[in-house]
Symmetry: C2
Subunit: 119 residues, 2 copies
C-alpha cells in the first residue's frame, strides 16, 4: 500500500546511491554516495552525502540522518532542509571513518542537523 | 570501537551488495543482491538474496531478515543458518515486488525464517 504521498515504503539501497540531493531552494548540493548500515541492529545509521569533490578524489562525506532525505519525484532527487551555512560547516568524513565507527557519527549527525533520534 | 567480534558496527550498503552467502555447512547458497530500506523509518527492511538464476535473468529473490546475516571474514561472506529445505521453500519475489511493498514482505520474512522482530 502506498504512503500518503503515493509511494510505498520500500526502496533498494542501490536506487539511493548516486541520487542527487537538492536544498529547499532547488540548488543541487551533492549526491548520496552510499548508505551506512548498522550490522548489529536493523537500523540505517545515516546517508553519506558527497558535497562536491572531483571524480570522488579526496572527497569527504557528510553523515546525514536518513529521515532528512525527502525524495521528490518531480526533481528526481532528495530535498534536504539545510541552509548553505549548515552545509558549509557540516562535519565531513572519509569513507573509512564512516565504516570504522560504532555509532558516534550517527549521534553527532542527529545533534548537528538537529534531527530527533529515531525510536 | 569494535564489537565483541572485533568489528565495528557500520557497513556501507555498497559493501553488502554482491557478497556471497553460505549455509552453516559452508556451501554457497547465493549472494546478497541488494538491501531493502524503509523510506519512512530508519529501518532496514531485509536483504534481498539471490539464490541462483543465470546472469540475473528471471532471478527471484528471497527477503531475508537483516539479523540473519552473520559476516564471517575468513569465508569472505555471510553465513545464514538455513537448512536446504528452508532455502528451497523460501518465498521469492522479483525486485519490483520488493519495492512495491509496504512492510508485508518484512513481516512474512520474520515469520518464515522464525526470526524475532527487531525492536
Amino acid at each position: 500500500m502506498p504512503t500518503g504521498s503515493g509511494h510505498t515504503k520500500a526502496i533498494l539501497a542501490s536506487k539511493v546511491q548516486g541520487t542527487p540531493v537538492y536544498n529547499t531552494t532547488g540548488q543541487k548540493i551533492g549526491e548520496v554516495e552510499d548508505v551506512v548500515l548498522d550490522k548489529t541492529t536493523d537500523r540505517i545509521m545515516f546517508a553519506a552525502l558527497g558535497f562536491g569533490g572531483v571524480l570522488g578524489i579526496g572527497e569527504k562525506y557528510a553523515a546525514v540522518p536518513w529521515s532528512m532525505l525527502d525524495y521528490q519525484p518531480d526533481r528526481g532527487g532528495y530535498v534536504v532542509p539545510m541552509s548553505e551555512d549548515v552545509i558549509k560547516k557540516a562535519p565531513t568524513y572519509d569513507l573509512d571513518d564512516l565504516t570504522n565507527d560504532d555509532g558516534q557519527i550517527r549521534e553527532a549527525s542527529y545533534t548537528y542537523y538537529n534531527v530527533p533520534r529515531s525510536q
